[in-house]
């Protein structure tokens, strides 16, 4: 054994390890590597520029996914638009001027979507008014012209085109749509300028793509953008922007290789489909969502999910629905297989019955053949004839039934063939489905998302059953109205006064301010500038009251805790739920570096309304990759819900987080758990601004036993 590093070094040096390479492997890998190098170099030096093709085996899946993303982005995007151009701060204004004023722009965009489907590098061109051409070499070209309200996608290899005609786009949205990524960046800059540059931070000089550049970072609640410009010419060289999209994923887009105000021929934005292409056309209603869209969405949801309604009205609902949809499709396939099996069994049963009926006749015929006596032969023949008469009706019936079953089997098989053909066609099927199924869902959610705070909207449909005329599921106050619109689970709507709204006076729904006993503050004043990206600004005052149902308490108190680091450097794991929230020495547990997690077992399912975390509040630290999840099982396999994620680069592997970094204070970090039902809570972190270790003083989970 060994005592120290030196001992261990000696042991290793004495080991006899066969690590001699095989020359044949060395030579063959060399050839393979250089061939990959040359191939990549060729792809990069094509006349159209650099393209890194994302690996997506099926072009149908890829194009359908891309189109579905565009479809959904269209609906979301056209309802968001920026204000007038306003420039403040001379250097920043100089840097963004070309972005804001260029009539045409060409650039490359590398899109990195968390779920990969829409990832890749694209050659892009933008031209006023509201036109964009996006091309992935050899795969597809998409052209959007918002003035004409039209989108064309050309699948180059398959020679198929999809034309989408957007109806009812209001003029104000036509040139500022999220469907056009460059204009979205423009919108973000305008929004940052409107907030009087409070959200703009100068990053200083840095070498970017081989040149000295100055950078600006824009931090707004829903997006984050970094602009790098050549230090001498002040022309943008690189823009990195990340924004949340549907499906609860974050998309990061990196723009490079800019050229501003170059001549771009109108033919590049032509919406004319080449003659040899098979065209699919569809219409998309791009008007602002209305109440009827919400009702249609609720109806479609209930019909597709066995009479249920969404868990909540946020972007996660889209994901929830698409999962239910996928499940339904697989059920449909299962039903089809079951039906074929049933028909086959029916056919076999009928055949067996027919054989049984015909058996005596068969036997008589055999006897007839064996017999040599004429008299005997006559007798058998007579008997056979009687037997035939007796069973003929039954036989006819059975044969008729068999014929019918055979017909059904044939139809079923044709149906299957048709489905296979449709799957081959892919584009049409996927898009029609996306339009018919997903778009109404997105429209309904957008309606709710766009309601202003004054609308006082409430949703209580999670547990309601479709068709229940007495169960109110949603209400809101339309703009300028004195009364509320109240929607019931049978999707009927009534106008009611505030007094007639559903009363939330039962014990479980009456809300009270959460009473959290705070530990003493260990530092005063504003925390120092930690230069952490995506950092939440300090509130500068106590946290506002957080409302929870009456009876809610800390259900994590003295509950068992486990950790990925079995041997903490300082303290014991049990300290995390011991109720001691002070930052003094002896009150915290220190876990090793890198990504570590702790798991609290609440010992029974609870409805959790808030989770409050104190990592270490002796100093104003920021912890990295803070991810909070709940689940039904200790291995986090069943019903896993992520409640918080501020991992900005997906280093923890749970996707890019949308939550912000925050500075530790004696208030702890309160995470709204929205009443999620779970037994286990897991918290991840990966070092902090003070050191690489991970610390916990206390974790509280406020909830009630699940009903």
């Amino acid at each position: 054994m060994f005592e120290n590093e030196a001992d261990f070094e000696r042991i290793v040096s004495r080991l006899n390890i066969d690590n001699k390479p095989n020359p044949a492997h060395r030579e063959s890998l060399r050839r393979q590597m250089l061939s990959v190098f040359n191939q990549t170099a060729q792809e990069r030096t094509t006349p159209l520029g650099v393209f890194r093709r994302s690996i997506m085996k099926s072009p149908i899946t890829k194009i359908a996914a891309a189109a579905a993303v565009i479809l959904i982005a269209l609906v979301i995007g056209i309802h968001r638009f920026g204000g007038p151009v306003k420039t403040t701060g001379v250097a920043f204004a100089d840097v963004v001027r070309p972005i804001l004023t260029a009539r045409t722009v060409t650039c490359k965009i590398n899109i990195d979507a968390a779920q990969g489907q829409a990832s890749g590098t694209f050659e892009c061109m933008f031209a006023e008014p509201g036109r964009m051409r996006q091309e992935m070499l050899g795969e597809y070209i998409s052209i959007i012209d918002l003035q004409q309200g039209k989108l064309v996608i050309l699948m180059l290899e398959e020679k198929k085109a999809m034309v989408m005609e957007m109806e009812n786009i209001s003029d104000e949205y036509k040139d500022r749509s999220k469907a056009n990524m460059f204009f979205e960046v423009r919108r973000q800059i305008q929004q940052a300028q409107q907030s009087e540059d409070k959200s703009v931070e100068f990053l200083g000089e840095q070498e970017i793509d081989g040149q000295t550049a100055i950078g600006y970072h824009i931090q707004e609640p829903f997006f984050e953008t970094t602009i790098w410009a050549d230090a001498k010419t002040l022309l943008p060289v690189r823009i990195e922007t990340s924004m949340p999209t549907v499906m609860d994923q974050q998309i990061t887009a990196v723009f490079t290789d800019f050229a501003f105000d170059v001549e771009l021929d109108d033919s590049l934005f032509s919406l004319k489909v080449p003659e040899e292409y098979a065209v699919e056309t569809m219409q998309l209603d791009a008007s602002r969502p209305q109440e009827e869209d919400l009702i249609e969405m609720l109806r479609l949801w209930a019909e597709s999910t066995d009479g249920k309604f969404p868990s909540a009205f946020n972007m996660n609902a889209i994901k929830e629905f698409s999962e239910a949809w996928a499940k339904e499709s697989s059920l449909e396939f299962g039903k089809h297989r079951e039906r074929t099996q049933q028909l086959l069994e029916e056919f076999n049963n009928l055949s067996e019955r027919l054989d049984e009926i015909q058996l005596p006749q068969e036997q008589l015929l055999q006897e007839y053949e064996k017999s040599s006596e004429t008299e005997e032969k006559r007798r058998i023949l007579k008997q056979w004839s009687e037997e035939c008469k007796k069973t003929s009706k039954q036989e006819d019936e059975l044969e008729q039934q068999l014929k019918q079953v055979l017909q059904q089997m044939e139809e079923e098989s044709k149906k299957r063939l048709r489905q296979a053909e449709d799957l081959k066609k892919g584009l049409s099927e996927h898009l029609q489905e996306a339009r018919n199924r997903m778009m109404p869902i997105v429209q309904g959610i957008m309606f709710v998302q766009e309601l202003p705070d004054e609308s006082d909207w409430h949703y209580t449909g999670k547990e309601a059953a479709f068709g229940d005329a007495d169960a109110p599921i949603f209400w809101y106050r339309p703009e300028g109205s004195e009364t509320y619109r109240l929607i019931y689970a049978d999707l009927s709507v009534r106008d009611v006064t505030q007094d007639d709204l559903p009363k939330q006076t039962t014990e479980t729904t009456q809300l009270v301010a959460l009473d959290i006993k705070l530990p003493g503050a260990m530092f005063l004043g504003t925390p120092e500038d930690t230069r952490v990206p995506n950092l939440e600004k300090p509130l500068g005052k106590p946290r506002p009251p957080f409302l929870v149902p009456i009876g809610t308490k800390n259900v994590a108190f003295e509950k068992p805790v486990s950790s990925s680091d079995e041997e903490p450097i300082i303290g014991e794991i049990e300290m995390i739920t011991d109720g001691d929230k002070e930052a003094a020495d002896g009150s915290y547990v220190e876990l090793g570096p890198f990504l570590q997690h702790v798991t609290i077992d609440l010992e029974a399912e609870h409805n959790i309304y808030a989770i409050v975390i104190w990592h270490f509040h002796k100093q104003p630290r920021v912890y990295f990759d803070v991810v909070v999840q709940v689940a039904d099982d200790p291995d986090f396999i069943t019903n896993v819900t992520t409640l918080f994620n501020n991992d900005i680069d997906n280093s923890a592997g749970f996707g890019l987080g949308k939550d912000m970094h925050y500075t530790e204070t004696n208030e702890g970090k309160l995470i709204d758990a929205k009443g999620v039902r779970a037994r286990y809570i897991r918290l991840y972190s990966n070092g902090n601004t003070g050191d690489d270790q991970n610390h916990y003083i206390e974790v509280e989970a406020y909830g009630t036993p699940a009903k």
Binding site: F2, N16, M33, L34, T40, G592, P593
Partner: protein
């Protein structure tokens, strides 16, 4: 002589740096880098993955990844390249053993090798490679990496910290804890032997 030696070193360093810059666009330069680093990466993979065939597979993955990404490699010096290459190797090796089934397969191979070694040697008190590897494989992937880089690749703490994107002090402290854990694991392996 010392000055000539220092100059030769500087010239070689400059040549290697130039090689790295040229390797972004020139196949010959990349081929030269490959010759310089193949053995080192292969050795690292053997130390992380025990089995030579598996090490060959992962070495292939590492260099193919290099071929695909070298065009966009932002480093300028040979040291930048070395760190980048080792980081790719670390990630690929960790990715390989992250799957439990693969880890089990490696453990089984080490156990077989341990049994065979036991037959052929009289001195059972001496730690052998399969035994040590079995104990190392029980550590977390990051910790295994630190052990390999420090004791098998003989890297300085500073370089390990760069490769793992951690602080030097963290690597030092972590190593101390890892060795304690490794000692315990080794004891378990030795006890199992008896």
């Amino acid at each position: 002589m010392a000055m000539v030696g220092a100059m030769a070193k500087t010239v070689r360093q400059a040549e290697d740096d130039d090689l790295v810059l040229r390797a972004r666009t020139e196949a010959d330069a990349l081929g030269r880098l490959y010759e310089l680093y193949y053995e080192r990466i292969f050795r690292f993979c053997v130390h992380r993955l025990f089995d030579k065939e598996i090490a060959e597979d992962v070495t292939s993955t590492v260099f193919l990844e290099v071929a695909r990404r070298i065009h966009d490699f932002k480093g300028r010096t040979e040291q930048d390249f070395r760190n980048w290459l080792l980081r790719i190797a670390v990630n690929q090796a960790n990715a390989y053993i992250r799957k439990t089934s693969r880890r089990k397969r490696l453990l089984a191979k080490a156990a077989r090798a341990m049994a065979e070694a036991g037959k052929s040697t009289d001195d059972s008190s001496e730690l052998d490679w399969p035994m040590l590897y079995t104990a190392i494989l029980k550590l977390r992937a990051e910790h295994q990496t630190i052990i390999t880089l420090k004791f098998f690749e003989n890297l300085e703490f500073e370089q390990i910290a760069r490769i793992l994107n951690a602080r030097e002090a963290t690597v030092r402290v972590t190593l101390h804890r890892i060795l304690t854990k490794l000692r315990n694991h080794l004891q378990t392996v030795l006890d199992g032997e008896k």
